[in-house]
């Protein structure tokens, strides 16, 4: 009620504004300047949904860069071999015994580049399809956020300008605003309410 009085007093007290409804409307809308603007809400919703265009575009860059890095293989092998040789020099004498142990230790390092991947990476096709899907989802998200944001703003202004409104209607309108706020919270991970409280 105080808000309505303020607006009406403001409009009536300023003859210029009373003559110019647009200027008065600007003044009314300026009362919500403390709330996040629609672009911030759009951006936040995109971040929350991981639908920023830059992120999606970076997938392709990463797949290209991946082809410059080699496939690296390292190997270590160890083998041991015990030999026991007995040599008979005569039929009566004891055989001459020679024991031998062979030990082998090998290391291998292999780097492999698929040069064809640098020209055409098979994953690019899949990424391109994902980019198209992400683009559509992003538009739908931005459009939804924008419409909810301005529906909420309209509800706020309606409540502000409503004269002779019953308590029931007022509660109904306030619930509507709360519902839309919760909706925006859902799309921004609670960021919207935090910003309003701040």
């Amino acid at each position: 009620m105080r808000s309505i009085s303020f607006i009406l007093c403001f409009v009536m007290a300023s003859p210029a504004l009373a003559d110019d409804p647009q200027a008065a409307a600007q003044q009314i809308l300026a009362r919500f300047d403390h709330e996040p603007d629609v672009r911030s809400v759009q951006r936040r919703a995109m971040v929350y949904a991981h639908a920023q265009p830059a992120e999606v575009a970076s997938w392709r860059l990463r797949s290209r860069l991946a082809s410059l890095l080699p496939q690296v293989r390292m190997g270590v092998d160890y083998d041991t071999d015990r030999d026991d040789t007995r040599t008979f020099t005569s039929a009566t004498s004891e055989p001459r015994k020679v024991e031998g142990v062979d030990e082998g230790m090998g290391y291998e390092l292999r780097a492999t580049w698929d040069l064809n991947e640098a020209v055409f990476n098979r994953s690019e096709v899949a990424i391109r399809r994902s980019v198209v899907n992400a683009s559509r989802q992003r538009d739908s998200l931005v459009s939804e956020v924008t419409k909810i944001y301005f529906s909420r703003r309209r509800a706020q202004v309606d409540l502000l300008l409503a004269e002779d409104i019953s308590a029931k209607e007022r509660v109904k309108q306030e619930l509507r605003i709360a519902e839309l706020t919760a909706y925006l919270d859902g799309l921004t991970g609670g960021w919207f309410s935090k910003q309003i409280r701040r």
Partner: protein, 532 residues
Amino acid sequence: MQSRAMRFVFASTLIILTVAQGTPAAAAGPESSATDTISLHQGLIVATTADGLYRWDGTEWKLWHPWSLRGVNRSLVEDEEDEEELEKLRAYDEVVEELVPSYGESAALRAATDLLGYDRPKPKLRFQGVQERTQPLHRAVLSAASHRGWFWACTVDGMVRVGATVRRLAHLGTACYDLVAGAGLLVAATERGFYRLIRPGEWVRISGPLPGLLLGLGARQGVAYAATSGGIFELGDRPIRRSGVIADAFGTLGDRLVVVRSGKVSFVDEQGQLRPTGKQVAGTVMRAGDGSFLVTTEEIWRSIGDSLRWVPIRPTDGELRGALDYGGLWLATSSGVVLPERLVEDQMVARLGAVLSPQRAVAFAEKTQQAMLLRGLDMPKQNPAWATWLPQLSFTFDNDDRRGVGIRDLEALADSLDVEPEDLDPDLVEAEREWRNDLLDGGWRAMVKLTWRPAPERVARYRVSLESARNATFRERRRVSKKAARMLAGYLAAERRLIVHPPRTVKSAVRRLLKVQTKRALVEGLLNQEIP
């Protein structure tokens, strides 16, 4: 009083014709010259201009019937000559009017020529006051309608009936002011009064001129009405004044009479009372009727049921004069007919060029392209065939150390030395143990390997999948471009409307500002950047 009013009307018409003379008529047809009306006749679209009737043949305008109406291609005359000519014209018309009831139109014209010794002179016109030659051409055809298989045109030279030939109905009058067609009804208003068509070739005079300046004709439920500066009259067997409403413009929308006063549109009910629609039109009303359109020089409104709706149109070069909804919206303007096809074809250009300034259009186009890149929607340019012919490169380094350890039999050694094993020299035994650790073999290897795996079948598969991805990207690019253009047009239209039709209350201003902001935010969200 009546004659004074009619004289005023005639003088007004004369002034209009004089002005019309100021601009030479172009013979280019409705493509580029002023078009007064556009209507449907026998399934064809007919446009009327000062130099003739044109029909749309599906691809272009074709001249149907040429005509030479007053005020077109006339040379300037001296004042004295003009007065003399006008006097001769008046005398001729008076004689014709007397003779028509007994002789018929053609015979009356011949008899008048014989009696007076000259043919009917065409009125010569002159400039009154200082008229700019660039002033827009005024209408030569005030109204036109298709009725009973004929095309009827109400022109500044009188009523004209058009079929296989053009016939001027001189007996109805020398100047026609308005024409209304309804169900089984065709009524024309001329300087001699009001005429109703009974059957082709037979007209009955309903009444003489009504008091006051004629503002327009309308029809409701098979009855014609005329609005003058003295009120609204029902044109039955005799004129009956039904309302005292003084309108600026009068006509029919659907089956209801409509008046416009100070830009405010109202319907007239059965009792002659006004029923305001709450709509305010801008500009001068050119036509209220011919179906469901209310046309002003600046706007078009369409009657839908009980409501009137503003029709969005692309900006036109000249003033609006008529509209026809036939496979799209056809607009008759003072600079020619605007075709629906052209609207469709030029949609993008109009949105980016005409609605925006060229600089802003370029900036917007750049932003759209930038938005595509940000989304990763650049068109793929790779050729998988090249990829298949490139080898797989591998570089291998390996190291292999082998130690062969032989432990000689100490017993055999002691035996060969002929000593007991326990008596062997400890140094010798130690040397034998160290010998175990001697390196017997060791080496390293480096290898570069190139592997080609050409497989045409795999290349073909890659190509198909890449082509499919390319198509999907192209479709998405087209969707984004189209959506961006449409949203931008919507935003600009909302902004333009806010300027052209400013809100009158704070509440409506807030709502409309929010609407504009919503549209702007949608464009910016789509492009993911600020728009200029």
